[in-house]
Structures are given as C-alpha cells and as structure tokens.
C-alpha cells in the first residue's frame, strides 16, 4: 500500500511517498515561494524519480492545519481532489502533531509552535505515547505569554520545535529556565514522511478516511465571523485549553 503525503501549511513544503511504514522518497523545502506553483510539479517530479505513477498511489495524506490559511487550503484542495479523482481514501493529520513527531523520543513535553502573529501562536503540548504523540494540552491559538505560563506549571523538561520558536526564545527561557530545550535545525521543520507514518498507523488501526466535505482545521474563526458573533452578544469561547491526558507519566516513559 503506497501513501502519497503532502504538507503546505507553513513555509515548509513537504511531499513524501511511503510504502506502508517504509519511506520511499521525501522532498522538503523551506522557502518563501509559492506553494500553489510548486506543489504539483514537486509531486510529479518525486513520483518520476521513484518510477511511480499517480495510479500506483493507494492513499493520500495531507496536513489539515493549523498554519497559513492559504497554504492549508492549497494542500487540502489538491489532496482531496486527487483522492476524489483516483477514488482512493484521503486521511489527514494536524500539522502541529506532524511537527511534534520530530520530538518523538524526547523524555518530557514536546511543544511545536507556529507563529499566529500579534504575539499569538498555534501550539499544542505533546508527550510520547506508544507509536505516536499524545496531546497533553489541546492544540489551540493562544497568546504566547499565557501559553508559557500554563506550560511552566508542569514541572518537566520541554522541547520547543519549529522555526518560529526563535522569535520567542528569550521569553521561553524567562518562563522555563533550564527546563527549556530547543530543537535542532532538522527537527524544526515538519517532515512529510512523519505525516505518512502517522497516517499508516491510522490505517492499520482501522480509522475511517475523511469524507468529501472534509475541511481544514484552521483553529480559529475568520475575523468577520468572530466580529459578527461578538456583535450578536454571542462571543462564545471557541477554544478549549485542556485536552486529553492519556499518558500520565511525567518522565516520558510509556
């Protein structure tokens, strides 16, 4: 079973092909260039390099967000259209979870971060749990100050991942001191092969693919919708701050 995985949710564009749990090929770039122009030619080239055709693919995998709204939509639209055209299943995974996979063996908490501007971040708190990363604190868009305060309460080492972490580095150290650990360059970019592997695990666990009405998970309403709701006096909280906590151990063992 071959999986074509793609991610365009941030500046990093990634395309990978997996044969079940074996990575056949992977392309990642980290450029301020247009995903709309480059995604399909990159898929085309990788398949050609691997002597494969679109008809050889059995599953399409895509990151569902969060990240750049436009970037998310390019990936999701391309993926769902290819899956529909080939009549093959479409699976998705959070872009934060994919990035968190780069901290898979870290003995502590793993916190992937994408800048959401205005001192806010898209983030979640993860811990290794079996073959995947379990969300300890649910992914959300949150003020970086508030987020670090919450994370600091957990007295564990914390690995921060993502290129955007750099701009919050000092603030992170202020909150966590020596408990803060930072990813190395290779760990800071999401890997499409990790996406592919996460999807393979979903498949063998019998998870159902996405429906045709599948939509990205932007993690926040549009500004217009948020303003409208507020005007209706209906400013309900859109985000929950606490997620599941299945893996209780604080030392990272599972």
């Amino acid at each position: 079973m071959k999986i074509l995985a793609m991610d365009t949710t941030t500046l990093v564009m990634g395309v990978a092909v997996l044969e079940e749990n074996k990575v056949l090929g992977e392309v990642t770039t980290n450029l301020l260039k247009n995903h709309s122009v480059r995604l399909m030619p990159t898929i085309d080239r990788l398949l050609k390099d691997l002597d494969l055709k679109m008809t050889d693919m059995d599953v399409i995998a895509v990151t569902s967000g969060p990240g750049s709204y436009t970037g998310i939509r390019i990936g999701v639209t391309s993926a769902k259209t290819m899956a529909w055209a080939r009549k093959i299943p479409l699976y998705s995974e959070s872009s934060l979870t994919v990035l968190a996979m780069n901290g898979f063996r870290f003995p502590g908490l793993v916190v992937p971060i994408f800048d959401a501007r205005r001192q806010r971040v898209y983030s979640g708190v993860y811990r290794t749990c079996g073959n995947k990363m379990e969300e300890v604190m649910k992914q959300q868009v949150v003020s970086i100050h508030e987020w670090l305060e919450q994370i600091a309460k957990r007295e564990e080492p914390v690995l921060f991942l993502g290129d955007d972490v750099q701009s919050f580095r000092e603030l992170i150290i202020q909150h966590l001191n020596e408990r803060a650990v930072f990813g190395d360059p290779a760990e800071n970019i999401p890997r499409p092969s990790q996406l592919g592997w996460l999807i393979w695990q979903k498949i063998i666990q019998g998870e159902k693919p996405e429906s045709q009405a599948f939509t990205p998970n932007y993690l926040q309403l549009t500004q217009a919708e948020a303003n409208w709701l507020q005007k209706q006096g209906n400013g309900e909280s859109v985000h929950e701050s606490q997620g599941r906590e299945n893996c209780i151990s604080s030392d990272g063992s599972v």
Partner: protein
C-alpha cells in the same frame, strides 16, 4: 473553424460561487452546478474573502462530482478541464486552480486556464455561436469593460472603468440607501416603481473615450441624500433608485453603441452579472433595434458567475492546444490579453 467533438469540465471559484459544469462542443450545457454562498455572506453585508475561500474548499469536489453526475459522464470521458485563473479574489481562485491542476494530474486530462471575463463573453456562445467580429459590454461587480473580438481567443480592450465597476456602484448606492445585500437586484426592483426625477451626473469623459467612471455618480447620490437630510426633506427611494440606475445605464448603452460604430462590427454582446439588470436589458435592446445591431444577451442563469461559461471559453483554448501546465497559478489581476 472546424467544430470538433469535445467534452469539457469547467471549474469556477473566482468569488462567492463554487461552480462546476460539463459542456459539449463549447455549446451544449450538459450540467451547470452552482453553489452560491450568498446566504453565508449576507450577514456581513458583502463577500468576505476568507469566508468564501473556506467554503470553496469544503464544497469543491462535491460540486465537481455533482456536475459529472448530472451530465451523466465519467471523469475519463472528458477531453479537457477548464479553470478560472483570474481575475477575482486570490484565495478563492486558488481553490479552483489547485483543484483543476490536481484533477488534471490525477486523471491525465489536459488543463486550460480561462480568463473570467472571457468566460462571461462565452456565456453567449452557449445560446448561439459567436459571430465575429464583435464587441462585448462586460458589466459585473468587478468589471465594466468594452471588449473587441476579431476571432476566438482574441480579445482587445476598447475601454474600461477608471474607478468603480458598474455593479460596484449599484452595491455602494444600495448600501447608502440601506437596502439589503446584494444591492444591485434591490435597486433594479425598486426602480420599477419609481420615476426618473432626480438629476444625477453622467461621466462621458473625453469625447472619443470608451472608458467609464462611476465614482462621481456615487458621490452625487451621497451629496443628494445629505442635502435632503439637512433640509429635512424626504428622499423617495424608488425615484432615487430609478434616477441612479438610469444614469448608469445611459452611459453603458451610449458607449456600447459608440464602440460598435467605431469598430464597424454587427454584433454586440452583453455579459457579466449586471446583464441581469432588467432596465439595462430593455434599454440596450431598444437602442440596438433602432441602430440595427444584432444584440446578444445571455439568459439570466448564465449572467452571474457559473462554470458553464468557463467550460465554453475553455473549449476554444482546448481546440487551439493552449494548455496550462502544473505550475499554473491564480492571478487576481490577470489581464485579458491572450490571443
């Protein structure tokens, strides 16, 4: 031109309509599925680009699937996929372009990139084959242009608006008058009950110019309303709607006739969303009858954004082998220059 057998899928997502259609030979509409977001945007008083883009992603493959089902064709039966490349809202256009490219790549069916305005002009081809040379008046919320066509896929702009599009002027004036969104059809409806009793300006610009300008007219309406308020006079909405609409249509009709005379063509085409305006249809028809010009007006369902018109225009790009590759990108300011 030799008419070849062809089956083309059109995809249109330039604004707030997600649409897919199947057209045979560039003339026969086998299906034309339009999922309008008007209800979604009404509460915001206009189209919100981010909201539109989110909706397009959700609907796109469902709409394409429905278009194929209604046309009773399989994906593999298609000869080409035609997608709107621009102009329009960039985020919205990107959905159609991404879907078109992915579909083309996954199926091996060639892709053609269509200009949205070309699509509006080709809506007329779905009624009766275009006869060249011709002039087309394209009027919508985003465009007011006079286009000269010598042959298929060949567009020359004779004039365009220098500020607001005609449809935009309708929407802005409707908002001034507190009419519900979308404003254009509201003004059209209201104007029927009114008389042309307010004196409003018409911008003719330079004597030989085929350009348009509607921002002065909008300002004049605003001033008229303010003055009335200061003098505590009642504005008669129906009369204001009729007077404003007449001022817009006067210029549209006159400049179209001038463009026809200047180029010496026999055929005038009306295209774009504002073609649905009843007074414009009546006045342009009357005038063309007097001047013995063959006027083509698309039926109402083909006036607003739809994918059948994109498929029709795309069919002629397909006939001429003008294909797009996988690097195709959405272009919100795409000029109508391909020939």
């Amino acid at each position: 031109m030799i008419q070849k057998q062809s089956l083309v899928l059109g995809i249109e997502t330039s604004c707030d309509e997600t649409s897919a259609a199947v057209v045979a030979d560039g003339t026969r509409v086998l299906s034309n599925v339009i999922s309008s977001q008007m209800e979604v945007h009404r509460r915001f008083g206009g189209v919100v680009p981010e909201v539109a883009s989110r909706r397009h992603v959700e609907r796109i493959t469902l709409i394409i699937e429905q278009a194929l089902q209604e046309a009773q064709v399989e994906l593999g039966d298609l000869d080409a996929i035609a997608v709107t490349q621009g102009p329009g809202l960039v985020g919205a256009l990107l959905i159609g372009v991404a879907a078109g490219k992915a579909l083309s790549f996954a199926s091996g069916i060639p892709l053609v990139a269509v200009h949205h305005i070309a699509g509006h002009i080709y809506a007329n081809h779905l009624v009766k084959p275009l006869e060249f040379p011709l002039v087309s008046l394209v009027v919508s919320g985003g465009h007011t242009e006079l286009i000269y066509m010598e042959k298929h896929n060949h567009f020359e702009r004779l004039g365009q608006t220098r500020d607001d599009a005609a449809g935009e002027a309708f929407d802005k004036v409707a908002r001034l008058m507190n009419l519900p969104y979308p404003g254009g059809p509201q003004i059209d409806r209201l104007a029927v009950e009114g008389s042309i009793s307010y004196d409003l300006p018409r911008a003719w610009l330079e004597p030989d110019s085929l350009d348009f300008s509607f921002s002065g007219l909008k300002s004049a309406v605003m001033q008229l309303m303010q003055k009335a308020k200061q003098r505590q006079e009642e504005i008669r909405p129906a009369d204001l709607a009729a007077s404003f609409q007449h001022a817009v249509i006067d210029v549209l009709v006159e400049k179209s006739i001038r463009a026809v005379k200047k180029t010496g063509v026999k055929h005038l085409l009306l295209a774009g969303g504002v073609s649905a305006n009843s007074a414009l249809r009546v006045q342009l028809s009357k005038r063309c009858e007097q001047e013995q010009i063959d006027l083509r007006i698309p039926p109402l369902e083909l006036c607003t954004d739809n994918a059948a018109m994109i498929a029709a225009a795309g069919t002629f790009l397909f006939y001429e082998g003008k294909f797009a590759d996988l690097t195709l990108n959405a272009d919100p300011g795409l000029p109508l220059t391909y020939s």
